[in-house]
C-alpha cells in the first residue's frame, strides 16, 4: 500500500512542473508586446513601463519562470494588474465558497445517484430501470447553464422555496449558507448524479450475478439485506471514481454556476479577470486548480488501492 502511494506520488512531480509551466506560459500567448496589449489603448508610457516591470518582462523568460515558480511555491502569485491586490489573498478569500459548492454538490450527487443506480441495477430491464437509464443519459447532456435558470425559475421564483441567487458565508449563518447553496449545488450535481447512477447500476448488476448473492438469497436473506450487505458496500467505489473523473469538470462548471447564481467564488472572480485581462490572477488560478486536480487524482488512485486489494496486489 505504501509502495503504491509512493510510486503514484512520484509521478505527480513532473506533472505539477508542467502545469506550472503552462500557467507561466499563458503570458507568452499575449499577442505582440504583452505590456502594451495589457495596458490597453489609452495607457500612458509610464503605465506601460509599470506593467512591464510588474510582469518582470525586462528579464529573459527562464529567469522569470524560475523566480515566478519560486514565489508561487511560497504562496506568492504576484498582484492583480490594476487593483494591485495580492492574487493569493483573492484566491484564499474566494476558495471557501467554491469548495463548499463543490462539496455540497458531490454529496447531493451521491445521495441521488447511489439509490437510483441501485434500484435500476436491481430491477434491471424493468420499466423503472429504462426510465432511470434514459434519465441518466439525458441528465449527463443537460448543460448547467440550461439547468440552472430552470431551477431558479421553478424553486427560486415560482415556488419561492429557496433564494434564487446570492451567497451567505457559513460563518455568518450555517442554515442560510446551506439554503443559499442548495440550488447551485443541485444544478452542479445533475451530471455527477447521472454518472454515479450509471456506475452503481453496472456494479449492482455485476455483483447480483455472483454466486454468493444467490447463496445469500437461498439462505433466506431478504432482498434489502442482500443489497445492503453485499452490493452497497461496494457503492463507495463508483462515487470515488466519479470524484476522480469529475473533479476537474466540477471546478470548471462551478465557474458558470457561480456566475449565474452570483456566488463570490473563484470562478466568478476568474470571469472578471478574463474581462480585465488580469493575467497574474489568471495564471495563479490555473496553477492552483491544476495542482489541486493533479493531487486529487493521485489521492483517488491511491484510495483505489485501499478499497480494492486487487489493485494493491498488482502494484
Amino acid at each position: 500500500m505504501l509502495r503504491l502511494a509512493a510510486r503514484r506520488l512520484l509521478k505527480v512531480i513532473p506533472l505539477l512542473l508542467l502545469v506550472s509551466f503552462i500557467s507561466f506560459g499563458l503570458l507568452n500567448l499575449v499577442p505582440g508586446d504583452p505590456a502594451v496589449q495589457i495596458a490597453g489603448e489609452f495607457a500612458t508610457e509610464e503605465q506601460i513601463e509599470d506593467i512591464r516591470a510588474g510582469l518582470g518582462l525586462d528579464r529573459p523568460w527562464p529567469v522569470r519562470y524560475a523566480s515566478w515558480l519560486g514565489d508561487a511555491v511560497r504562496g506568492d502569485f504576484g498582484v492583480s494588474l490594476f487593483s494591485k491586490v495580492s492574487v493569493a489573498t483573492q484566491i484564499w478569500d474566494r476558495l471557501p465558497a467554491t469548495l463548499s459548492l463543490i462539496g455540497l454538490s458531490l454529496a447531493i450527487s451521491a445521495l441521488i445517484g447511489v439509490p437510483a443506480g441501485t434500484f435500476a441495477g436491481w430491477r434491471e430491464g424493468t420499466v423503472l430501470d429504462r426510465f432511470l437509464t434514459m434519465g441518466t443519459t439525458v441528465g449527463v447532456a443537460v448543460p448547467v447553464f440550461v439547468a440552472a435558470p430552470v431551477l431558479i425559475l421553478i424553486f427560486g421564483i415560482k415556488l419561492d422555496w429557496l433564494p434564487a441567487t446570492g451567497y451567505v458565508p457559513i460563518t455568518a449563518n450555517p442554515i442560510d449558507w446551506a439554503r443559499s447553496l442548495m440550488l447551485p449545488a443541485i444544478a452542479l450535481a445533475l451530471t455527477g448524479a447521472a454518472e454515479i447512477a450509471r456506475q452503481t447500476r453496472a456494479g449492482v448488476i455485476d455483483v447480483k450475478k455472483q454466486d454468493f448473492v444467490r447463496t445469500a438469497h437461498a439462505n433466506g436473506l431478504a432482498t434489502w439485506q442482500v443489497l445492503g450487505k453485499h452490493t452497497l458496500k461496494n457503492a463507495m467505489i463508483p462515487v470515488i471514481t466519479v470524484i476522480g473523473l469529475q473533479i476537474g469538470r466540477l471546478f470548471g462548471l462551478s465557474v458558470l454556476i457561480e456566475q449565474i447564481f452570483n456566488i463570490p467564488g473563484l470562478g466568478s472572480r476568474l470571469i472578471a479577470a478574463v474581462f480585465e485581462n488580469d493575467v497574474p490572477f489568471i495564471q495563479g488560478t490555473v496553477l492552483i486548480l491544476g495542482t489541486v486536480i493533479v493531487l486529487v487524482n493521485a489521492a483517488v488512485d491511491i484510495s483505489y488501492g485501499y478499497f480494492n486489494p486487487r489493485v494493491r496486489a498488482a502494484a
Binding site: P14, L15, L18, V19, F21, I22, L26, L27, L29, V30, P31, V138, A141, V142, P143, F145, V146, P149, V150, I152, L153, I157, G248, R249, F251, G252, L253, V255, L256, Q259, I260, L270, I271, A273, V274, F275, N277, D278, V279, I282, Q283, T285, V286, L289, G290, I293, V294, N297
Partner: protein, 298 residues
C-alpha cells in the same frame, strides 16, 4: 511478375478490404435507429443554418416593440424576445454561429492533436513520453478554466474562444490517435514493411492513418458535441460571440436575464443546445458500435 503488376494487385486487395469494411459499417449503422435519427436531426439543423435567409420566417434582427415577450403563435412560432425579435429566426441564424464555431474548434483540435498523436504512437520512446505528459498536464486543468484563461490572455472574441476550445480538446484527440497508432504499430505487417526498408512517413500514410480514421471519426462527433456545448457556455458568459450577432449561447444568456418575464426564452435555445449535443453524442456512439469492436470510447 513485374513490380508494377505486384503493386496493382496489392492495391486491388486493399480496395477490396476497404469496400467490405464500408459495407459492414453501413449494414451495422443501418440498425442503429437512434444514431440515424441523430444524423437526420443534425443534417436538418445544418441545412437550415446554411439556408437561414430563406428558411427563417423573419429577419432575426428586426425589432417590434409591440411584440415584446410575445408568446408562441401563428406570427412568431416560438415567441419573441424583449425587443420583439422572432425567436425561431434567431435560433436558425444562431445555428450558423454555433455549428461553424464548433467546426472551427474541432479543426484546431484535429490539427494539434492528430499529427502529434500519430508521431508519438509510432515513435514511442522519449517523444511519446514527453507528448503524453504534456497531454496529461493540459487535461489536469479544468477544460472551462483553461479555455477561459486562454481567452483572457488573447482577448474575448469568437475566434479566440474557438482556438481556446480547440487547444483544450486537442489532448483528448491526441490520446485516441496515439493509442490507435500504437495498436497498429504492433501489427506484424508494419515490421515487414520496416524490414523491407519502407520509411516511417510512408508507413504512417499508408497504414497508420487509415486505421486511425475510424476511432477519429467517432471522436470528432463527440468533439463537435463538446464544442457546441463549450461555445454556448462561453458565449453565455459574454466571452464568445458578441451581440448583435447571436449564437445559441448568446440567445440563452439574454433569455436568462429576462427569466421572469418570459421563461420560454430559455427553453427554446436550451433545447436547441441540448438536442444538438445529445445528437452528436448519440451519433458518436452509433458510429463507434458500427465501426467494429476494437474501437472503444475513451
Amino acid at each position: 511478375m513485374t513490380i508494377a503488376d505486384h503493386d496493382m494487385s496489392s492495391t486491388a486487395v486493399e480496395s477490396a478490404t476497404t469496400e467490405s469494411r464500408r459495407a459492414r459499417f453501413l449494414r451495422r449503422f443501418r440498425r442503429q435507429g437512434w444514431a440515424i435519427g441523430a444524423l437526420v436531426f443534425l443534417v436538418i439543423v445544418a441545412i437550415s443554418a446554411i439556408f437561414a435567409p430563406w428558411v427563417a420566417p423573419h429577419d432575426p434582427l428586426s425589432q417590434s416593440l409591440t411584440d415584446s415577450f410575445a408568446g408562441p403563435g401563428s406570427e412568431y412560432w416560438l415567441g419573441a424576445d424583449r425587443l420583439g425579435r422572432d425567436t425561431l429566426s434567431r435560433l436558425i441564424f444562431g445555428a450558423r454561429y454555433s455549428l461553424l464555431a464548433a467546426a472551427q474548434a474541432v479543426l484546431v483540435a484535429t490539427v494539434l492533436g492528430v499529427p502529434i498523436g500519430v508521431i508519438a504512437g509510432l515513435a514511442r520512446g522519449k517523444i511519446d513520453a514527453v507528448a503524453s505528459l504534456v497531454a496529461d498536464a493540459v487535461l489536469s486543468i479544468p477544460a472551462i478554466v483553461l479555455a477561459l484563461a486562454i481567452i483572457g490572455v488573447l482577448r474575448p472574441n469568437l475566434t479566440n474562444a474557438m482556438i481556446a476550445i480547440g487547444i483544450v480538446y486537442a489532448p483528448r484527440l491526441f490520446r485516441v490517435v496515439r493509442s490507435a497508432a500504437i495498436s497498429v504499430r504492433e501489427e506484424t505487417y508494419i515490421d515487414a514493411a520496416r524490414a523491407s526498408g519502407v520509411g516511417m512517413l510512408t508507413i504512417a500514410r499508408t497504414h497508420v492513418i487509415p486505421n486511425v480514421l475510424s476511432p477519429l471519426l467517432v471522436q470528432i462527433s463527440l468533439a463537435l458535441g463538446f464544442a457546441v456545448l463549450a461555445e454556448a457556455g462561453i458565449s453565455f458568459l459574454g466571452l464568445g460571440v458578441q451581440p448583435p450577432d447571436a449564437s445559441w449561447g448568446v440567445i440563452l444568456g439574454q433569455g436568462t436575464v429576462k427569466l421572469e418575464e418570459q421563461p420560454l426564452l430559455i427553453l427554446f435555445p436550451g433545447a436547441a443546445i441540448l438536442l444538438t449535443v445529445l445528437a452528436f453524442n448519440v451519433l458518436g456512439d452509433g458510429l463507434n458500435d458500427s465501426l467494429g469492436r476494437e474501437i472503444r470510447r475513451e
